[in-house]
């Protein structure tokens, strides 16, 4: 009997290899919330499905899609234009501009929403300027699709910027030269050469942006804009209707997965190769007027996306400081946040590694499904993930409930896709022959992993760690539900203080989020710079 079992195990092992087994383990853990959603929505009766369908869905689909399109457009405009200037022009303060365009990633969407509602009050900084310019009656109102779209575009365009910048700096000059020789104008070159070449990067960036929009909880709940995520949250929270919440989540997941599959499909058909000998792009020195124009645009973008919120945070933190309101408890929130983010990032990188390795090595149906299933965390709204994990933990492993482990688990599941994707893209640059060379020189699989593969994909590991760290540091909805009692993180405090109008207390917490992200972001940018040079 026993030998039969071991025999079966070895058979499975020989079929899948260790990384396959590990992958299956990670993926089954990551799909807990998904199974919860399916399980709960199966309990919805046909009438209730019908009721949901007629009463809510048309509005929700319209609200969610129009917001996604608006943010995608905004992020495209801001991200592509700024990436273009950064890569193609040499101007004073270019490195500073790069930083200013990446730093908005450190500000959570709910902080953006909160700050802009305050700034746009008639007596707020922006509001009073607006009133002076156009009068009070036309003061913009953020509680609609344009307001939410504005906030989310500012919060997410940096993803497009980063990816397009990377792609732009890797494109080569000869195609453009060829077009120029044939007599194309600069506009024509842009529309017919550059833009099509950039399509994969733009698509990947926009996909990231759209997924963030679909699962955003902070901004839509602050601004009361009914998307799927907010409606799901309200179903759960105000009405205690978990089944309807699960039903809506299932529809949201199917929408997002369709979108993801489509995006992967189009990206796959659009691979461009360039010959190694071709000339790299050298940024053109910008003239005085051009420098002025560039800084006018980049300055405007970063003013709204980073500088203004930062100044607001500093001013109110200063208020808190001189009123002596920053006490030991505050530093406790800081260390809680750091602890949870470091743990989640480290575990997510380790857990994501076998999945990424497995998928990079075997591109079959099984590995594809594994990657798709493990990206569930990005597609489901945070509150639903938290609920799914809560129900799972209470039902099967109640002993760990109330501890940090549950919270860490939730963070890892939520942000595992980030870890897998950045590791996968690093592995793809490894040619299989490198690994084979290691093996043929007598290295065992583990030694090979440690001495060949991991060092070569170091950049990918770092960016995986950093991305998960940043997102965990900002995470709100799952933390609200799953944190151990008395364990408040910075986002939780921001949430509580902001809803009590205690700006002096919300601002320092938001500022600490920015400061806490700086060193890891610096590390990422530095390794990225090395990598591309």
């Amino acid at each position: 009997m026993n030998s039969q079992l071991t025999g079966y195990f070895y058979w499975l092992k020989s079929r899948l290899a260790t990384r396959g087994l590990l992958t299956l383990m990670v993926v089954s853990l990551a799909s807990i919330p998904f199974f919860f959603v399916i399980h709960s929505s199966l309990q919805l009766s046909v009438e209730r499905w019908f009721g949901l369908w007629t009463s809510r869905l048309p509005d929700l689909i319209w609200n969610t899609l129009s917001l996604a399109i608006m943010v995608a457009f905004g992020a495209f405009l801001l991200g592509v234009s700024s990436a273009w200037f950064i890569v193609r022009r040499e101007f004073v303060g270019r490195r500073l501009a790069i930083w200013l365009l990446v730093l908005p990633l450190t500000i959570p969407t709910y902080v953006f929403a909160h700050i802009y509602t305050i700034l746009l009050e008639p007596s707020g900084w922006l509001g009073s300027v607006w009133v002076w310019l156009f009068g009070e009656s036309s003061l913009p109102n953020l509680y609609n699709v344009f307001g939410v779209g504005f906030v989310l575009s500012l919060a997410s365009f940096s993803y497009v910027f980063l990816l397009v910048r990377d792609a732009l700096s890797r494109t080569h000059q000869n195609l453009e030269d060829a077009a120029r020789v044939q007599g194309a104008s600069s506009a024509q070159v842009f529309w017919r050469i550059n833009l099509p070449m950039l399509r994969p990067a733009i698509a990947a960036g926009l996909a990231l942006v759209v997924l963030h929009v679909l699962s955003d909880f902070g901004a839509v709940s602050m601004l009361r804009y009914q998307t799927f995520t907010l409606s799901i949250y309200l179903q759960m929270n105000a009405r205690f209707d978990y089944q309807a919440a699960a039903g809506l989540s299932l529809i949201l997941v199917s929408l997002s997965l369709t979108f993801l599959v489509l995006e992967r499909f189009f990206r796959k058909r659009q691979r461009y190769y360039s010959s190694a000998q071709s000339r790299k792009v050298i940024p053109k020195q910008a003239g005085i007027t051009e420098q002025f124009m560039i800084w006018l645009w980049l300055g405007l973008v970063s003013l709204f996306a980073f500088i203004l919120p930062l100044i607001w945070m500093i001013v109110w933190s200063w208020q808190a400081w001189i009123k002596d309101m920053i006490d030991m408890a505050f530093w406790g929130y800081v260390s809680n946040s750091l602890l949870i983010s470091v743990l989640a990032a480290s575990i997510a990188v380790v857990a994501g590694l076998p999945v990424a390795l497995y998928h990079a090595k075997r591109r079959d149906f099984l590995s594809q499904s594994c990657v798709h299933l493990s990206s569930i965390g990005f597609v489901l709204p945070g509150p639903v993930i938290a609920l799914g994990i809560l129900v799972f933990v209470l039902a099967l492993v109640p002993n760990i409930y109330g501890g940090m482990l549950v919270l860490v688990l939730a963070m890892v599941i939520r942000f595992l896709p980030l870890a897998i994707q950045s590791q996968e893209s690093a592995i793809q640059q490894l040619t299989p022959s490198v690994e084979q060379a290691g093996r043929s020189l007598g290295a065992g699989p583990l030694q090979n992993l440690r001495r060949v593969i991991l060092p070569m994909m170091r950049g990918g590991l770092i960016s995986a760690w950093v991305l998960v760290f940043i997102d965990t540091l900002k995470e709100l909805p799952a933390t609200l539900l799953l944190r151990p009692t008395g364990f408040d993180t910075l986002p939780v405090r921001i949430w509580i203080e902001a809803s009590e109008e205690m700006l002096e207390l919300a601002a320092p917490a938001a500022l600490m989020l920015v400061i806490g992200t700086l060193p890891v972001l610096w590390f990422l940018m530095r390794s990225g710079a090395k990598h591309s040079s």
Binding site: T117, E121, P122, S123, E136, L139, N141, L142, Y143, N144, M222, R224, L234, M236, N237, A238, R239, F240, L343, S346, I347, V350, L387, L390, V391, L394, P398, N399, I400, Y401, G402, G403, M404, L405, V408, R450, L480, L481, P484, T485, G486, D488, I496, S499, E500, E501
Partner: protein, 335 residues
């Protein structure tokens, strides 16, 4: 290697909750109210009894959700909410245990549930705040006047996620019927053309600045503003008074002992403290609410209890009819 070290940390973290559980002889309070209103009461309690209190803050509804999902695993001992609707919802979901009569009897029966599974601790009135310089406000005497077309662009409302707002609508729905309430909501929807407010305090601010003529708020927000700006041109208008009036909508913040509390003795002590004269006096003074215990005076500047008419609606209905109210609000499409 690194991975082994990580695994160690992981295991350490996994064992953390067990040790935490054993170490804590403190009371755990799920509090849906602002820390600044609850903390003074808890500190006074700790000073008096030596029992420590951990406050786990959040929104009233999400904490109730948490309590329900946790079931017997919950470590919470006390649940505090700013809204009778949530209190009754929790009672209906059987999340609370019965409070001994000698504690409950301190609170009049209209401010607690029939089974004594929750007690109202402090009451608030839903009032209108008006700008005293505005010529528009002299015709206003009822909350239903907010739907009048003359007030277009002049009314301040919170968004409909606000628990006090929902509870108010539940009261009006019972007093005036569903159709009248729907018409009222539709009328108001036309009137707040430049959006709703996310805070009551911002409504009061907007009325004080003259941007709005009138707003619908809980009474203590008006005093909070007047405390900071004594000369602000605002006053409270107690709506729906007189023979024909339905009376002011009334709501209570309350507390309950959770069903699975493992420290019942200490939890009952805390409940007893919150309904004692000292505790009630603290609730009255930190936020100018009306203490529910008879004989404890409210703050001097608020209108005295009994001097105005209150809508005759049982507090328990605020929980029972909440989903119906939400349906109505959503059908009208209030943001």
């Amino acid at each position: 290697m690194n991975i082994m070290r990580l695994l160690n940390i992981f295991l350490l973290v996994a064992l953390l909750p067990v040790t935490q559980l054993q170490a804590s002889e403190e009371l755990l309070v799920y509090s849906g109210r602002s820390d600044k209103f609850v903390k003074p009461v808890m500190e006074a309690f700790t000073l008096k009894t030596g029992i420590k209190v951990v406050l786990h803050a959040g929104s009233s509804t999400s904490l109730l959700n948490k309590l329900q999902l946790e079931g017997e695993r919950s470590q919470a001992d006390i649940y505090i909410s700013n809204d009778a609707g949530n209190m009754q919802k929790g009672a209906d979901l059987k999340l609370f245990s019965i409070i001994p009569n000698e504690i409950a009897q301190n609170i009049p029966s209209n401010y607690r549930s029939k089974q004594n599974d929750w007690l109202g601790l402090s009451a608030r009135a839903r009032v209108l705040v008006v700008n005293t310089n505005s010529p528009l406000v002299k015709d206003i005497s009822s909350v239903f006047d907010l739907a009048e077309p003359e007030l277009k662009g002049q009314i301040g409302l919170t968004h409909s996620g606000n628990e006090s707002y929902i509870a108010g609508v539940t009261v009006y729905m019972q007093m005036k019927g569903k159709d009248a309430t729907r018409k009222w909501l539709v009328g108001m929807k036309k009137n707040f053309n430049d959006g709703v407010f996310n805070k009551h305090s911002k409504i009061v601010k907007a009325v004080a600045s003259g941007k709005k003529a009138v707003g619908l708020v809980n009474h203590y927000y008006v005093y909070r503003h007047l405390e900071k700006y004594p000369d602000a041109p605002i006053r409270i208008l107690l709506p729906d008074q007189g023979e024909q009036g339905m009376g002011v909508a009334w709501n209570v913040a309350g507390a309950a002992i959770t069903k699975h509390s493992k420290r019942l003795n200490a939890a009952e002590k805390l409940m007893a403290f919150m309904v004692s004269k000292e505790g009630q006096g603290l609730f009255a003074s930190v936020n100018r609410e009306y203490p529910t215990r008879v004989g404890v005076a409210a703050a001097d500047d608020v209108p005295a209890v009994g001097s105005f008419k209150v809508a005759n609606v049982p507090m328990t209905s605020l929980g029972r009819l909440r989903n119906e109210t939400l349906d109505l609000i959503e059908a009208v499409g209030m943001p």
